[in-house]
Symmetry: C2
Subunit: 360 residues, 2 copies
DNA sequence: CTGAAAGCGCTTACAG
DNA sequence: CTGAAAGCGCTTACAG
């Protein structure tokens, strides 16, 4: 409609807007950015805005970034994202929180790294792009030794602590989540509660077992009576459950509930329970951990489990970045004390009161 | 060690390198970028490289991007990434392929959008960042109507076709994958093969059913005899399997294999089969689709299923972007014909020969 | 209330 | 073989 004589091939720049509005680029910049401490006549403002809208002007973020020394990007490096169930939700949480602050999230995957050293190639790639902040997400390490460059920009760790104590971190409160499961089971009337644990060396292993013990102790129960170890897979849960409920045990010596280290184990537990001719939750209650899609809702009855706050972890990480940027940084409390995000129980159908009341 | 009198607070720029090497920035740029059609004395090259290394010089990609009009970023907008199982693998494939080409992947999530219009806010956000290419990934639509701006840059769709036929796309060959399952089952000796289908309106539904029919027809079998519809969840697979194998049917009229629309349904099928006192795969073979972690390996016996090439989809999308950038674009064949990526069967333990040979 | 000018850190004709 | 200079598209003191 409002076509000039030739279609501008390039996308319009601030200069085009200035020309169209009959003002300087300075003025265009001020009105479009609402620069503080700047007065512009309302009539001028309107002219500028109209011109910008008419031309479909969109500021070039690269240019702005170069000038302001702020790219408006935050980089997320994830350690072997593909192997983490639901890493997608960490990314989503980080991305949406970033968007809320007008930031763009960029991603680089780091090879699974059994050494605790954070890949510095990945960090450097982001630094070259002048990211405003850096998030490093890991699942395999308690503690991580980040490359020195990481300190040159606001940074936060997900799921691990900085060995140097300089970089703040956010992590799931696995211990608290596990303790709350015991509490939940005790409230339902259980006293003989088993834990199907694992020996795999990841932070979650220790946290969940500790939480189980916290809960048992708090309820005045023996935390060691029904703990068995197995591999953290369905087969392990199957084996553990057979060991717990199988032949050797008299029914009065059997646990009435089994809390599994993860949902995959719970899946195996269901199968073992069915084989034993028992039913969930009537004969035995079971609880999982991870809320690992699609297990809990695909099991029958649906599995009560504990959710990992993946989305929240991602979002909290970028919130922390923002805080570091604005508040300055070095002296933030988070650096020393990791921020723990709670792991809520999601109740479904696998917990009920035990068949017969159990005496203390 | 080689410290000057004051630690440079800022990161070194090309000017610092030039000064350190005693040459012009032009020369530094040429040697560091290996600019073609340019001669530089070897001795000079060495001096420059040493100076760059000594200072730890890293070129500022923002500045380079502004100058070259190429940001070195490709943008991925995913539609509701979180709800797609394994969207993480699409991201991973795209990211790694991008890295191979020295590109960085940025991500924006788009709200799940039941209309086929692609969100133009997300696209615009990337355009503002001068991305070199744009990928739009969807799972809920066959065909999508992209905003006009999407054409202003090399773009490719994952999992959907452009209604305008201008944007190339890559998608999984669900139909071929389903057909190969039937072939696999026939080769194992099955002739009475059931399909637990669904009516949900997503592209996968039609493709898989079509593939099932292709396979049955190719084997000279009736494609309609054992098709039942159910919801695409464990409960649906359970119901469908009961309908297929349950009371009403004489054993000779029962299918010997059930191919489930997805792995969740297969999970329900296992449960129904166990309830019926039958065993997988001795009495009935079952095959899933999706290779949805952690189902296939958590089931006993492990589930034979069809894998979706998520990683490959992501990688192929950025490959297509690269091709569009170099080869020019508009006249590429992909634009009209989607690139189909094969969905391979992953054989595990849930298929065996049927108990008794079945006559034609 | 508005604008001319410098400059962010690079790359790239162009000249020598 | 090497360098001076322009310019990518913005923002921001500074001056008027």
């Amino acid at each position: 409609m409002s076509a000039g004589k030739r279609t501008p091939r390039r996308t319009p720049g601030i200069r085009d807007v200035a020309a169209a509005a009959g003002v300087s680029v300075t003025t265009v910049s001020h009105v479009l950015n609402d620069t503080p401490h700047t007065r512009t006549a309302d009539e001028t403002k309107i002219r500028v805005k109209e011109a910008a809208a008419r031309l479909g002007y969109q500021p070039n973020r690269l240019a702005r970034g170069l000038r302001t020394q702020a790219s408006g990007m935050v980089g997320l490096v994830t350690e072997e994202i593909a192997t983490t169930p639901h890493a997608g939700r960490i990314i989503l949480g980080a991305q949406e929180e970033a968007s809320r602050h007008n930031l763009t999230l960029a991603i680089i995957n780091s090879q699974l790294n059994h050494a605790p050293e954070v890949g510095s190639r990945e960090v450097q790639a982001f630094l070259d792009r002048q990211v405003d902040g850096l998030i490093y997400a890991t699942v395999y390490h308690d503690v991580v030794v980040p490359p020195e460059e990481l300190l040159s920009v606001p940074a936060v760790l997900i799921g691990a602590r900085d060995i140097g104590g300089k970089i703040p971190s956010v992590m799931p409160d696995e211990r608290g989540g596990a303790a709350s499961v015991v509490e939940h089971l005790v409230a339902a009337g259980h006293r003989r509660i088993a834990f199907a644990a694992t020996a795999i060396d990841v932070p979650a292993t220790r946290g969940r077992l500790l939480g189980f013990r916290d809960g048992m102790l708090a309820a005045g129960l023996d935390p060691d009576e029904f703990v068995v170890e197995a591999e953290p897979e369905a087969a392990g849960g199957y084996a553990a459950t057979h060991a717990l409920l199988g032949a050797g045990r008299s029914s009065a010596a059997r646990p009435t509930a089994v809390f599994c280290y993860n949902d995959r184990m719970a899946m195996g537990a269901y199968r073992a329970i069915a084989e034993l001719g028992l039913a969930v939750p009537t004969d035995v209650s079971v609880v999982g951990f991870d809320n690992q899609d699609p297990i809990p809702t695909s099991l029958f009855p649906a599995l009560t489990t504990v959710a990992l706050p993946h989305y929240e972890l991602g979002a909290a990480a970028v919130e922390a970045i923002i805080r570091l940027k604005t508040e300055g940084g070095a002296d933030l409390p988070e650096a020393s004390e990791p921020q723990l995000l709670s792991c809520p129980i999601v109740e479904r159908g696998s917990v009920a009161a035990p068949v017969r009341g159990t005496a203390a």
